[in-house]
Amino acid sequence: MALVSGPGRAAGTLSDQELHIAKHVAYIQNLDTRKDELEYWLTEHLRLNGVYWGLTALHLLGHPEALPRDQTIDFVLSCQNDNGGFGAAPGHDAHMLYTVSAVQILITVDAIDELDRRGLGGKQKVGSFIASLQNKEDGSFMGDQWGETDTRFLYGALNALSLLNLLDFVDIPKAVSYVQSCENLDGAYGVTPGAESHSGQVFTCVGALAIAGRMDLINQDRLGAWLSERQTDKGGFNGRPEKLPDACYAWWVGSSLAMINRLHWIDGKKLASFVLQCQDPEAGGFADRPGNMVDVYHTLFGIAGLSLLGYEGLQEIDPIYCMPKSVVERCLSQR
């Protein structure tokens, strides 16, 4: 089981506004057949993320069975470390980023019980690994034992723990106040306190507050204004003021707007048009911008952006979890 690396040719034009579902499915399925390319091996450190990106995209495209379920589960479990966390691939160190992907994948294929059956120490151990990365003083989270702190990890922790129904393993009020300390006067959020607002971090901070049930802390009009200004004249979103648009921000910005009920503040048609121009109509996959190389990361976030916009033929995505809405509903209703 393996996925990630890129080559394919993104080449949409304005006249080509069709979503090439079959091509994208084939593109994702073929990612694991490229073991004769050095690139495949150079991207092993992203493998488990890659499985999550590919699998989620396939679910949105209406082809959830396109990756073999058993092999997917086996691969996920093979990435677990003794401390309960997951690495990117077998033999890679445990890290928050891959642990979250592991949980998301297992939930998506409805196999979270496999953690108790075949995992090391069950759900509890995964939850403990995540909880061990919280800074007890300020509520922030590290990516791993080596100390990098980033609101991405805080969001990841809350995402995975809530899916595991183990949110009580961590100090939520402290995590919430840490998120607040990353808010700037423009209403948006940065990677740490004092850092410039960035759309990717906005997604993580708003997502974390949504999971914590503290959307009341967001200045929604102000944030909505900042987010809506991310749409550029050609329709695509950028991540910060005066930067180039990129297909993945269709997700980071779009989902944030959706979480604060302001997705209608931007021009969805123009956004969809930009995203569609980023696909490779022949070999499948999406790139960051029209004319660039495709990869599975932009493939998921491009498709997820289209799904948010209610694009025809796509399954609905959950803006908080970046997983199929039906999957999240199934998981959360089993409490």
């Binding site: 040719r9 080449a11 960051d288 190389m293």
Partner: protein
């Protein structure tokens, strides 16, 4: 993380020779990877292992597990009993040098930046203060160089903030204060080089708060700072089409918003002062319309100022409301992408 900004190229079928070459490269890489893994498992933390780790990371700086291996090897070497401070410093210095070409080639790779921070924290943990401070001090020059190459690099700015705050923690209060001033000058220089650089403007907003705090500035001094900043942004706004400038302007206007004022540089202005500032600002911004009637940011700023007045005095007068409606009709016309945002605002306005 993914292939950002790589132009597409035509993929052609590989010749048998090319396939052969690719396969050789894969085998080479995989065998190096295996060697490193075996040695680390065997806790063989030798100079040779470190060299192989360096080779592997130079081929693939995204390989986070191998960065962790490197930490283990270094930790092992640091902990040898008879090592003097200067020997430890030399190890750290060599390792910092190893990172330089990688950072230059992969300036957006999280793992390299993280590793560098870890290394500098090790210096702080293991060396006498004056020695570790030297290491941290040198980082300012490095990050300045990185930010000259890409003045919006997110990692670069984050790293700069971290280096500065660490230097301030390990320095005396006087040193800390002079560093804030120095950084303020740096941000000014970066803004001067490119007015659109919002990263630099953002840094300026944070530095101003810090400067005033360190000086335990009086309300009068804070007001003077505010006046200087208003003058600066007015000069910059000669190009009213630049979004970065307007976000800085918006940041300044928070001073007059009663709910946001406590988080700004001049939190204690009186009601009448706030209103006066805002009225003056409206006059000033309206003049900008001359020759830039199609610039939506101007109308947006006018609306925001007027709304702030309503917030300060607790009501929106009929006259002010009709002005807002006039500007709003222009924005709706100039900003079709965000049409629904303005329609929503129009509805909210009716309830004010």
């Amino acid at each position: 993380m993914a292939s950002h900004g790589v132009r597409r190229y035509k993929i052609t079928e590989k010749t048998p020779e090319e396939k052969e070459r690719e396969l050789r490269k894969i085998n080479e890489y995989k065998s190096l990877e295996r060697q490193v893994a075996e040695k680390v498992t065997a806790k063989e933390y030798s100079a040779e292992t470190l060299q192989e780790i360096s080779d592997l990371l130079s081929r693939n700086p995204e390989y986070y597990t191998v960065w962790n291996h490197r930490r283990q090897v270094l930790r092992h070497r640091f902990s040898k009993d008879e090592l003097s401070s200067s020997e430890i410093a030399e190890l750290i210095s060599d390792d910092l040098t190893f990172l330089l070409p990688l950072l230059r080639s992969f300036p957006k790779c999280y793992w390299i930046w993280n590793y560098r921070v870890w290394l500098l924290d090790e210096a702080r943990r293991l060396l006498p203060l004056d020695m570790s401070r030297q290491f941290w001090q040198q980082e300012l020059a490095l990050v300045s160089k990185m930010l000259t190459l890409d003045s919006r690099n997110f990692h670069g700015w984050g790293y700069r903030r971290l280096v500065v705050s660490t230097l301030q923690q390990i320095g005396t209060p006087t040193e800390a204060a002079s560093l804030t001033q120095q950084e303020f000058e740096y941000a000014k220089k970066m803004i001067g080089a490119n007015l659109s650089n919002f990263s630099a403007w953002h840094y300026r907003t944070k530095l101003i708060l810090q400067l005033l705090e360190e000086q335990t500035a009086s309300d009068e001094e804070r007001r003077r700072m505010l006046n200087d900043e208003l003058e600066l942004i007015h000069q910059a706004l000669i190009d009213p089409y630049d979004q970065s400038l307007w976000f800085y302007h918006q940041n300044l206007m928070c001073v007059f918003d009663p709910t946001l004022a406590p988080r700004t540089m001049a939190p204690n202005l009186s009601v009448s002062e706030r209103v006066e500032y805002l009225r003056n600002e409206i006059v000033y911004i309206e003049e900008m319309l001359d020759g830039a009637e199609d610039c939506k940011y101007i109308y947006q700023a006018l609306i925001d100022c007027m709304l702030s007045i309503a917030k300060v005095v607790g009501q929106l007068s009929t006259e002010d409301r009709s002005q807002i409606l006039g500007w709003l009709s222009k924005v709706k016309q100039l900003d079709p992408l965000r049409k629904n945002r303005w329609l929503d605002f129009e509805k909210t306005l009716a309830t004010l």
